[in-house]
């Protein structure tokens, strides 16, 4: 295959993977924007979302769309509970304590999932038959199209919520200044819960999409994509919603390129290499503005 065709094909594959990262990254960025917390457990919520989808399809015999919605609702609930139980008591604690708690929460979700769902992987039911659509010299699969479609749809919905609803306005207010928002009569706790719910729901959708894409889910599937999506959020500028999308897509493409020209064992190193470079040279991300620490 000529190199440019291969590159085009990798671009398509990369964008599909990238839109999944983007969906997960949105959750990181929203939560970070609002309470300055790296929700380490976010990747595990994505994993739970995949499992919820799995059981909704196999046990509840739901078709794809209701299954996705059920899973999103389930994950939203877990996200809200997580914040309520683990993070809220620590809202005024040192950052390190909160970070350790988040790591603990991540481990807890992972090992609970392993105990409840079993440690081995499960084949994800194929809710739609696999098809390959030829576009000239390259192809795109219907699953990739589905990933794109769902990701774009959810992002548009999120955009509308954040920019055109009262809830969105309140979220933006809380992220700018929690005390001031409180004084303006905004129920900060409820807004934080809503943020966790929305971020978790997006992650759950991503979990199902990936389950369908790779045909398999396991209790540890959240770890790497979670970290990568976090890198994507940092790359785009953490706390900035469009940044998460840009970062996610870039990450997906970069990973596919490296795997094509290098080796698949390098896959996971790409993300971290990008992270370290970004943090060193553009710590506020591609779309971020510079901030000055006040003495």
């Amino acid at each position: 295959m000529a190199w440019h065709i291969m590159a085009l094909q990798q671009l398509i594959n990369g964008l599909a993977l990238g839109s999944v990262y983007a969906l997960i990254a949105l959750g990181y960025t929203m939560v970070y924007g609002i309470i300055k917390l790296i929700n380490f457990a976010h990747g595990d919520i994505y994993m739970l979302g995949a499992y919820f989808g799995f059981y909704a399809i196999t046990v509840l015999k739901l078709s794809l769309v209701p299954a996705v919605l059920t899973s999103m609702a389930g994950a939203a609930l877990v996200g809200v509970l997580l914040e309520r139980i683990a993070y809220r008591p620590l809202r005024n604690s040192p950052r390190i304590a909160v970070l350790i708690t988040a790591i603990g929460a991540s481990l807890l979700l992972q090992s609970t999932a392993q105990l409840v769902f079993g440690a081995s992987f499960k084949p994800f039911p194929q809710a739609i038959p696999f098809r390959r659509i030829q576009l000239g010299p390259v192809f795109i699969t219907n699953r990739q199209l589905l990933i794109f479609g769902v990701a774009v749809l959810l992002m548009v919905i999120l955009h509308i919520i954040v920019h055109y609803t009262k809830l969105g306005k309140a979220m933006r207010a809380v992220s700018m200044d929690k005390e001031a928002a409180l004084l303006m009569g905004i129920n900060v706790d409820r807004i934080i819960s809503a943020t966790f719910a929305m971020g978790s729901a997006l992650a759950a959708a991503a979990g199902i999409l990936v389950g369908m894409y790779y045909n398999r889910i396991d209790p540890y599937m959240g770890m790497m994509p979670g970290l990568k999506a976090f890198v994507a959020a940092v790359l785009g500028g953490i706390g900035i919603v469009p940044g998460a999308v840009v970062g996610g897509l870039l990450m997906g493409v970069a990973e596919n390129v490296v795997v094509t020209i290098g080796s698949s064992t390098l896959r996971d190193a790409v993300a971290f290499a990008i992270l370290i470079v970004v943090l060193l040279f553009r710590p506020n991300g591609l779309l971020g503005k510079k901030g000055i620490e006040k003495v």
Partner: protein, 319 residues
Amino acid sequence: MNKLSSLIKGIILLLAYLVVQLLERQGVLLPYHVQILSLCCINVILVVSLNLINGFTGQFSIGHAGFLAIGAYASAYLTVVWQAPFLFAIICGGVLAGIAGLAVGLPALRLRGDYLAIATLGFGEIIRVIILNTDAVGGARGFSGIPKYTTFGLAYLMAIFTVVVIRNFVTSDYGRACLAVREDEIAAESLGVNSTYFKVLAFTIGAFFAGTAGALFSHYLQYMAPTPNQIGFVKSIDILIMLVLGGLGSITGSIVAAITLTIIPELLRGFAEYRMIIYPILLIIVMIYRPAGLLAGNELSLSGITQFVKGARAHGNHT
């Protein structure tokens, strides 16, 4: 007084070693038990060295297994391929890990808190991926055929050495400078403390000791696999859990936690399965109710213990 208590501590440590030797001779302790004790010592080194970086200098690092990995593989390469003496291999492993620590410490200057944490985690994973892709150390197959050089005696000695060095470090002007950086970097700088230098120093020393622990580890297991469990983030988080439960900034806390959390899973057979559920719950509860760790940053000391015992006795006499 000070000399006396050092002497007493030395005698206790020596006695502990002799007791283990005796019990092993008598067959009370099986080789398997002594193995666990060696692992305890290795973990003590890992946790105490991480404490220097995280607890005393406040640079939140969760990539400690990366330094362990460097020490483990480098030393194994030296003893297997070059037939180098073990002690030399340990030192080389430590020095290489220390150099890596220097390299991580440099970005640490620019990053704070959670960003630094993620960067160190990323750094650890990059090291793992590099090892995974290095055929000279077995690549993805793992590194096997490492001689069993790690004895309990050696691990015990190294652990004591590490603890003494790090304790002396943190209770000197160097350690106070690290504490100052942890507490308030701006104030520290305004008092003439070069915060950059001390962050890098803490990373380098911490990494050095983690590297020596790695050397002991690979010559204890005799086989290294480039998996997250052995040299990746899972291992890093294992070390972190011990550190946090023992208390950031408490050396004795680190020692107690490292030993307890190494022995418990081995003793309670059924525990292993629930370990990864219990630890995270403990972690969260400790952070919510006792964020300074179970010992709350305090050190256990001989005089403290005798005072406690005396106090308890006095209390008992009263009632």
